[in-house]
């Protein structure tokens, strides 16, 4: 499995945000993309996920496991995303959040998967709780589990640790990368902090629209 970008270029109106970029993120690999605010890192993730909207425009190709994604809507790409905020749906319970993206199947099996995911998140019995009753760290763990139970074939992380305090941040880094590594899927992360990059992870820097290897 590999996430591949070929000659991807992104423009904001008349300005080129990202010069033609080719990149491959291999199975089980984590690549960190670093750069100044406004350099287009998150926009690149939106493009890969299929959510790029005007005034941004993009050219180039994205593929996952050899399948071209360019003409596919976001829901057909099977790419999981984590954002700066947990973005748990506040009108659903924790359990309903986990069920939201879980592939269809017999209800008892799906509920068993919810319980298993909650156990993995060290939150057993939290299924009926509304998200706002959870702590920041607990919500972040549920957000990761929600993305993973949807069985993504790649993960995009958009500064997922940015809003966490220092002790929680360290714990969440281990938690997130441990679970992503267990799935053996490619992971592309945008961050400002080199400490976010897991051991063995590759770092790319985005400057003036061009990507350089660290």
């Amino acid at each position: 499995m590999a996430l591949k970008l070929e000659h991807v270029s992104i423009r904001l109106n008349d300005r080129t945000l990202i010069q033609p970029l080719s990149l491959s993120v291999e199975t089980g690999e984590t690549v960190a993309l670093m750069g100044a605010s406004g350099s287009g890192k998150s926009t690149l993730l939106s493009f890969i996920a299929g959510g790029l909207e005007p005034p941004f425009t993009a050219t180039g190709k994205v593929s996952l496991d050899g399948v071209q994604l360019d003409s596919l809507p976001p829901e057909a790409r099977h790419i999981g995303r984590l954002f700066q905020d947990d973005l748990l749906f506040p009108h659903l319970t924790v359990g309903e959040n986990l069920l939201f993206g879980m592939p269809r199947g017999p209800r008892p099996a799906r509920l068993a998967r919810v319980d298993a995911a909650l156990a993995e998140a060290e939150l057993p019995g939290f299924g009926e709780r509304p998200p706002h009753t959870l702590s920041g760290g607990q919500r972040a763990r549920v957000a990761l589990m929600r993305a993973l139970v949807a069985e993504p074939r790649a993960m995009l992380l958009d500064e997922p640790f940015n809003k966490l305090d220092a002790p929680l941040r360290q714990a969440m880094r281990s938690f997130v990368f441990e679970h992503i590594a267990a799935r053996g899927i490619p992971c592309l992360m945008v961050t400002h902090d080199e400490a976010d990059v897991p051991p063995g992870g590759r770092v790319l820097r985005l400057k003036d629209g061009e990507v350089t290897h660290a």
Binding site: S46, A49, G50, G51, P54, P73, P74, E75, A76, H78, I79, G80, R81, F83, D85, L87, F89, P90, H91, F100, G101, P103, P130, P131, H132, R146, A147, A150, P152, L156
Partner: protein, 532 residues
Amino acid sequence: MNRLGAAPLLLLWALPLLAPLAMLLPAALDGEAWRMALAHPQLWPALALSLGAGAVSTLGALALTLTLLAGLYRSRVWDSLQALAASGLAIPHLAFAIGFGFLVMPSGLLARLFIGGEAPPQWVSVQDPWGLTLSLALALKELPFLLTAGLALLSRGDAALQLRQACRAAASLGHAPGSAFLRVVLPPLLKDLCWPLIIVFVYGATVVDMALVLGPTQPPALAVVIWHALNDVDPAMNGMGLAMVLLLTAALALVLGVVALLLRRARDPLHRRLAAGPSPLSAPRGLAVLLGAAALLILLLAMAVLVILSFAPRWPYPALLPPVADGAAWMKMTAAPLWVSLTLSLTAAATAVALAVLWFETQAPARDSWVNGLALLALALPQLASAGGQYKLFLPLGLTGTVFGLFLAHLTPVAAYVLIVLAGPYRAFDGRYVAAARALSVSRIRALLTVKLPLLKAPLLTAAAIGFAVSIAQYVPAQLIAAGRFSTLPMEAVTLAAGGNRALTAAFALALATPPLLAFLAAAMLGRPRWR
């Protein structure tokens, strides 16, 4: 983004709003209509009365609004102000006018409470020749609208936070709360109130139903003269009415233009005064509490009087309560106007919300500006002009006297309000929730139905309640387009107000006021997020 998504809004709302204006052009070129209009003996005094009522009510409502906002800004009752304003907004103008009339008339509740005596006092209150009662009622009824518009800036979002921080900075520079409000909050507030004030002025100067109930008769307000002319069986009189509509619209535009010019000239001297140093001016808290309580009391008494009267077969002066009570008036009420009004208003409100959602979902935010402009035009145009033009357009199309024609006429103001109310919350929605949902392999339509719309439940329900309240109160378009084939609650209430059956009039006025109140209550209860 899909350009076709704009089509339903354009067809059902923009077209029936703009096309009728073109229908007014022949009236502008009809020399005989203009000759009749200019020769009408009541034209100039009626025009003066209309402009006067519009100006006095607007200035009165503005003074009340600014006093309440300045006096109560950042006070403990600030949060309650929103709920009170929403409740006042829910009461239709006509229902309030009827209740207010019963309150201030010589044999009304106020005279019974404070004057007494064997016979009612000889004062001239309802239908006074200067239109003062009409202006006062309009000022009180527009207060919740202006308050809501002001609170939109002062209570929500980043702008509210910035203003609070600016006030703290002003306090640290030695400004007392009144001075800080005047110099920091008032300038952006007045800028935001610009369009609401224009809407209030135009409404006050062109209102028909309230003027028929509370306004003078010799001469009446120009809107009433026009109204009678448009309803006349003589086509020449209809033409004269349309010429008068154009004249009234031009007079309003002229007044607004002159005011804008004067304000532009006054801007520099005002700015110099605003930039003056710290002042110990305190917030008018006492006055605000007094005026706010008085306005609330009048609103409650006007509604209470309707309740009492609707159960009173007779209520001799000076008794404070009727000697006997029965439900005869309620039994006499015909159900048809209620059902027509409810069905029409629910359909118009639901359609307006659906059209607005479709627009916001399919069009780029940059395209909102012209829809917003159109919505403001719909509200700032005299209703006699838009409804009069619609009548001229619908007549040859066979839409007068039809349910669909009536629905389109109602949709014009309803969709305008819904678009204005929904634009802010809808465009401010955090799109990452939808992105997160779609990254979980959920389609766009399912993300909309299961994530976005439930999270926007509160503004959607509020917009629907406002749309419902606006629709159920429509008198002018309903009367013109229904062509006598349908009767709605406002039509019945206006007809009864001119007659002598007070109990039945009060019952219809209450029937008109209750559904919007229930709609706002339901929106507040159902829209309350359970995740806070």
